[in-house]
Symmetry: C3
Subunit: 186 residues, 3 copies
Amino acid sequence: MKATILGICPEAAVVDITHEVDKFNVRMGAYILASAAPYFPKGTIHIAVVDPDVGTQRQPLLIKTKREFFVGPDNGLLVLASEKEGIVEIRQITNRKFMLPKVSNTFHGRDLFAPAAAHLANNVSPTEFGPIARDFVKPDFARATRSETALNGEVLHIDEFGNIITNISDPEMTLTQLGKLLRRAQ
Amino acid sequence: MKATILGICPEAAVVDITHEVDKFNVRMGAYILASAAPYFPKGTIHIAVVDPDVGTQRQPLLIKTKREFFVGPDNGLLVLASEKEGIVEIRQITNRKFMLPKVSNTFHGRDLFAPAAAHLANNVSPTEFGPIARDFVKPDFARATRSETALNGEVLHIDEFGNIITNISDPEMTLTQLGKLLRRAQ
Amino acid sequence: MKATILGICPEAAVVDITHEVDKFNVRMGAYILASAAPYFPKGTIHIAVVDPDVGTQRQPLLIKTKREFFVGPDNGLLVLASEKEGIVEIRQITNRKFMLPKVSNTFHGRDLFAPAAAHLANNVSPTEFGPIARDFVKPDFARATRSETALNGEVLHIDEFGNIITNISDPEMTLTQLGKLLRRAQ
């Protein structure tokens, strides 16, 4: 993937966030991407690839947010990060002009996502990559749900130090606690 | 190794292909190098080091191909990649001027291969590194063999997704199948 | 951490030495840093983070040596490398101007050490980061001790090839052997 990127955009500064996401663990990848993205400079182009569903019928996405771009498969991997940053538009990547000449079935990262990101780094406009995506996959892990008496979250990740991270955000927690206080006060 | 490179050629763009080759697994290293090299820009200088036989009597090699350079030990590691790309010339690296002042017995990557690659990146001519190598190690894994009735290959690598990669190339397979068809037709 | 650095100093060349130090193994981290640092160009800024004691009351340090800078926690991690290179001065990092706006309790690498290193790369003077540190942690592993009849060292690291590295330096070993010879000669 780095070779592909540097072949198209030699002056790109390529930074690895991680190669340690467990295979097929989209949830873990989504969490790590959402954790790291806000620390990158404005205008950063993030590529993320985690199976499953890469190289299958899932559409490849290019998401523009208020601060940056995300390129990757439509399997939920980009959801946490892009919603956190504020989605501006989501496009399918369909224009073969911005892919490698031969696109394999098993390595879309190298043949499709990396070239798209590199062309984007070369200032190709997002509109050239393909049409607006009408909808995209949003897994259960992407948001906590609230019932009348409870806030139901999921564990996103247990890190190597034993920290357990859920998909319940600070504001949700605060709101819920406020709600309880209000109910008690009534 | 990166420190050595940047000390000699500060503007080098250093890209890691992998640090996950199993120890002493020259075959796996050779396969990965051959898989990745074609995607890098023309003129790329590849360094590869896998024991065994690094730091022993094996000669250090500098291989020039039609598209790029390979620097590494003469233990078969560079064979698949350089033959695939088209070998132009192979040289021994003997000129101590392009090594670190003190060359250890156990870390030729840092003391010999990295400096050679960095000087090459500084446009030192391949001819200055040492004489043409008359022969070099070519392991069994480097090519499939054909008997009258069979094409005999070896497994190069089993990847983390369970894919099994052999050293039988597409054209060889096609030729063999054609041969069978011809025999049947007779 | 890389995101933080590039956000503050976009032209920084960030080089990973390793991410494979065992958790909480300050000794191993100190050994690897001391092994790699001398090969980097003059003026390099090294960041090193190994728990424990990061993010606790341990002071963050900025060490200037004759050749380079070291940024990291005061838990002994920087001792071997900085003493080997010749310490010029040691400062506490206390100036919040050179930290991220929100400093977490668990990720000083990203919020404190990385920004400090990046500002240093932007030519901020060491004096601006904080006061001279009067003392710093020096673990037992940082030096061999000598008794009348013996030189007592510790194992710093056993590498993946089975090499065992101690904290006894070449000169110490030579001196000790000389001492034995002298005693025998008497």
